[in-house]
Symmetry: none
Subunit: 115 residues, 2 copies
């Protein structure tokens, strides 16, 4: 198995969990501490820490220690190989922009159009 394959493996595996996708979405808005990231979830801090370990192992997140807290940063470029793989199958037909925008709005990442 090539290194490229291994990276796609860990990237897709990292994204195959709603908690981790939520963490990634949250990090898109800016760096966070582990505690910040754990706060919205009804699970132990240790569980979130494990999710972060999986994201870090996949290269999607980097952590830097600052005092006794740890800051997490999203490495957007690390998502690109998987995004490109998907794009190879990409059948984004015209008209799908609406569906995409609807999803982004639902996730709070975009504002509804003002008619």
């Amino acid at each position: 198995m090539t290194a490229e394959d291994a990276h796609l493996d860990s990237t897709f595996a990292a994204l195959a969990d709603p908690t981790r996708r939520a963490i990634v979405t949250r990090l898109l808005e800016g760096d966070c501490t582990v505690g910040d990231l754990a706060e919205p979830f009804e699970m132990s801090l240790a569980a979130v820490s494990k999710h972060l370990a999986i994201l870090t192992r996949a290269g999607l997140v980097t952590q830097t220690r600052e005092g006794r807290t740890k800051w997490c940063r999203l490495e957007v470029t690390s998502l690109r190989p998987a995004a490109l793989w998907m794009e190879a199958f990409g059948s984004f037909g015209a008209g799908d922009l609406d569906a995409l925008e609807a999803m982004l709005i639902q996730q709070g990442l975009a504002e509804p159009d003002q008619p």
Copy 2:
């Protein structure tokens, strides 16, 4: 967890394996029987059958029986939600919808807005 989340889960999980990605790539060239799909791999037919079950459960593949053989077809549209999710994060940050739309238009994947 929403149904959308569940679909992203199963889609990303299905893609998090090199054998299954190879199967998907192969199916892009056209429909195949289970035996055809299994042939390139150094693993049992039963193992490939299990991989196909995972792809089928995720909605990425449909199977139709014809005599004693079974034909597998890639359902490209089923990849779209995950592809859109990746596209939103792989290349652009929040608020970059305009840039995303511009890229899609440039690639002929979307139509310009009618002002």
